[in-house]
Chain length 169, copies 2
Amino acid sequence: MIEMSDHDHSFCIDRVLADAKAVCAEKGVRLTDQRQSVLRVLAASHVPSSAYDILNQLNKERKEKGETMLAPVSIYRALEFLIQHGIIHRIESRNAYVACNEGPDARHRHGEATIFLLCDKCGRAAEFQSESLGGLIETIAGKVKFSPNAPVMEIRGLCEECQKLEGNG
Amino acid sequence: MIEMSDHDHSFCIDRVLADAKAVCAEKGVRLTDQRQSVLRVLAASHVPSSAYDILNQLNKERKEKGETMLAPVSIYRALEFLIQHGIIHRIESRNAYVACNEGPDARHRHGEATIFLLCDKCGRAAEFQSESLGGLIETIAGKVKFSPNAPVMEIRGLCEECQKLEGNG
DNA sequence: CAGCGATGTGATACAATATAACAAGTCCGA
DNA sequence: TCGGACTTGTTATATTGTATCACATCGCTG
């Protein structure tokens, strides 16, 4: 596995939610319950989730509480909001979404790039920030006068654990 | 192009095809042109491809040659055959297929990365190959013992022309 | 040339992804 | 508290991707 599996996810969740609240407060937008719950599901997992993964998870919880079910569009609306405010990323190559998990300042640093290492076998993801990568990208983009947004790189391959399994099989 | 990559996949393809021919000869089954072409597409990529990726690639080639288009089922039939004889793997979690590449370090040798600069406004794309970016990625991935395939980076932003228009409008 | 495996063709099943259109509810400042 | 903007609910449907069935035809090989 790419990341430690034995850490307590509640820490990640709390940090992500706190970070999101700060961002929304600063921008004067509303982090509603529904948006929060979508974010919480994403933050609880280091594997990118599809919109329908989130939908099923939330509806499962709601069913247990006897609440009404959500429709897909509710998830997409929340996702759209969270992406718009830089609180989550969309993994284009997978139609999946992940919470930014690098701490409150990562997003605001300039010239950094986000890297996702995506395991093709088990689906797990690890996120990194790299200044040198960001710099390199700016150099490349600068040569063709391209103005990059916060760059996100998706690298596919095999995580440590799956490489071991590959050796056996 | 900023940097040209001199890596030629023909080596990988030749080896995979040769292996497949040997396997089929040994088993007395036929590695037909169509099966070979599906295998070639898989072997040409270090990233797992979906059945429809393969279909589109082959049909693109066929279109250029003025040949008739293939239907999805043709691809599935070839895939089924190749899987059956252990020539390719199916990546269950991805609905994707990949050629068995017995050369253990093939994946690490390339050291190249592909970068797409995608304009959010006009949709244009520019593609680059970068060795230095590839090296940087290997460094980062190496820290967590992640084994990257040929990485593809998608950078969204504004191209030169659209930046100018943005200024005006 | 007969038989069988391979391929072509068209239809369709099924799931995942995503959005449209409109109604209803909720929040917040004036 | 009123009005408007934002948010959510509801229903329906578009779009794409994944996969298989049924049957006709081709073409290699014995």
